[in-house]
């Protein structure tokens, strides 16, 4: 069935019965986006939370001077959305844009409430998902405080070896919080070191 990757993902955390699986799949939708398309634009209200079936996205903030600051990539079996906008239905601080053709399973803000009532253990599931995301973000924050860009890059490489192949350098630079020019310079250093 077409929602299998999401079901597998959820079942690994909170096992669902067959009827719960049906209920869930009735409240989600599937959608394809092309490379370059926006799933969410800064200023709009996030209507959906997205689970990636295939493809790759970046979530970023455009600041006043037009600079992009990438704060999250997502690939297969990752979630992406501006959670703040989604939960309080306020204008998003972030854009979500596809950097490959991307297929997602979406849950709307309305349906997620229905789901929480129908299947309370999904509340546990989403709590655990966001706990994990929070912990990762907190660690990244500390790294940005205490490590140099070079050190952060080395950690990024070893943490997400697949990502480096799929994502243009200048986006990785943005994710690390540095310019593409400095990234290029620093990368040469790293490669020479090995």
């Amino acid at each position: 069935m077409s929602y299998q990757s999401l079901l597998d993902y959820i079942n690994a955390v909170v096992p669902l019965t067959k009827s719960e699986e049906v209920e869930l799949t009735n409240l989600v939708t599937k959608r394809k986006y092309l490379k370059g398309q926006f799933i969410l634009q800064q200023g709009d209200i996030a209507q959906q939370q997205c689970f990636l079936v295939s493809g790759c996205t970046k979530m970023f903030h455009s600041d006043d001077s037009g600079q992009e600051h990438i704060i999250l990539f997502a690939v297969e079996n990752w979630w992406t959305s501006d959670i703040g906008s989604f939960i309080s239905q306020t204008p998003a601080d972030f854009n979500v844009q596809c950097i490959e053709d991307t297929e997602v399973i979406q849950i709307s803000a309305q349906n997620i409430e229905t789901l929480f009532i129908a299947i309370p253990k999904l509340e546990r599931f989403f709590r655990k998902i966001i706990e994990k995301a929070f912990v990762a973000l907190q660690k990244r924050m500390v790294r940005n405080f205490s490590l140099t860009a070079k050190e952060r890059y080395i950690i990024f490489r070893s943490t997400y070896p697949e990502l480096e192949q799929r994502i243009p350098q200048y986006m990785i630079a943005s994710y690390l919080g540095i310019t593409k020019e400095f990234f290029s310079k620093m990368k040469r250093q790293v490669l020479l070191d090995n």
Copy 2:
């Protein structure tokens, strides 16, 4: 009753019945710490999640060169804990230390599981709490990428006007990700500007 501030806090998000309130208060404990004492030390496993009744704490990471990086303050009605350590019972990345005499209500890792089973809506409560924390952290991350220390300080002042009175400057500097020397210099600029 002595757990009232916690009950008020929870009731504002998920209303509890009287019997649920009793059940909850039976599974939490109260404790006092003196200024300077550690609630949690880096490398230990976080046994408790803490709700502050009074006082003030800082949560920080000590890096390899011994530098402190503060990533969270907490005052009355805030939660504090190394969530990562607490949920997966692994060594903490962070210290939590009192910067005033502090009284907390604590929930242990074991009891929180009991609570989730006894009162499922607490699962919703903690999901909402952590969602809020996550959103705030994400915004702070973007600010660290896109704003100067001066701009971040101005936002800090207007967001937490009370904190600036209670907390030594050098800790605010650490929270902003800069040295106390640079903070001192930059603060003079900000004060001259007004």
